[in-house]
Symmetry: C2
Amino acid sequence: MTTSTGHERRNGAETRAEILRVALRLFSEKGYEATSTKDLADALGLTKSSLYYHFRNKEEIVACLMADRRHDLDGLIEWITAQPRTPDLARRAVARWMDGTTPQHLQAMRLAQANRPLMRRLADGDDVRAAFGRVIDLLADEDASAQDRILLRMTFDTIAAALLATQETDTDPRDVIAAARRASIALTDAFANRST
Amino acid sequence: MTTSTGHERRNGAETRAEILRVALRLFSEKGYEATSTKDLADALGLTKSSLYYHFRNKEEIVACLMADRRHDLDGLIEWITAQPRTPDLARRAVARWMDGTTPQHLQAMRLAQANRPLMRRLADGDDVRAAFGRVIDLLADEDASAQDRILLRMTFDTIAAALLATQETDTDPRDVIAAARRASIALTDAFANRST
DNA sequence: GTCTATACTGTGATAGAC
DNA sequence: GTCTATCACAGTATAGAC
């Protein structure tokens, strides 16, 4: 938008994007609660108050960080709804979801996992997990048992499970995704064979 | 130790145990950070300061809550070490771990999951996840790939994964454990067939 | 439009009286 | 063993500088 390339004074959009970038890094490294708004402001060369010009409060910064993934999930729900209801629909939906996951997604997912109570506060009834519930409803039979539903959800959640298994270790994100994909295949089979 | 059964005035051990009980409930319901020491003190009919007589700080309360599970894990490591190294050792170890999980464990695990940064602060190099790393080292071949190690760890972590899949829902703990057991069997097979 | 100075409330934690 | 009083610092709101 502007022609200025200087770094002394940024325009609004640039500052906002930079706040989000630095916030994701700090919140991931030290945790959301452990990172004060002053820490964030110092890392950006701003004051606390400046942050409150760009974001209404600390939580809104995280909310913006999470917007992408929810959008992906809405896309998945649309895709499932438009598909023919073949017996292997669950398998195909899981594969599609796994393929849509990039290493870039992992850091945001880690952040979400590490700050569950915060996510619940942000969500306000319209969160990612609720959307996942709709996915399960679309894919599970009406007479599916509670166990079956949990298992189906775990099949989609293998990425989160793989992140859980690798936390506190520096694992290549591609290995995480690859392991999650293998796990999801194994669980899909377990779900398919549930009542045979 | 004492013969008193009155409830107007508690002795030290009773107060301590009651603090732990109420803290687990509040921290689970509202989250650790969202529960102030004043909330906890009010729920107990004490003042904030009294808590600091029984526990050095807020974090130590959680540390005491987590002691049990680590003890279980130490037992698993001893058991594995004493077993003959048969090809199905991993499968048997997973089964043993799953069988040792009670609904009572789930609430503490939920708490641990919901407060990852806190757990990292508490652990100080000697935490449950590090102990799990030793389990994996005992069970995996030396030439196991990073993917194989993640998959093996996910096999033990199916309980955590099932909790992840059921968060924000009121699911019967027995269904959670049953689904986790089915998932662990499926993943054990996937791990066993890794290089066939 | 972008940022800062300053003050307000609530939190975890400490010192010392009873 | 529990209390009162107090502390430093957190997130937040607002008024106003440029």
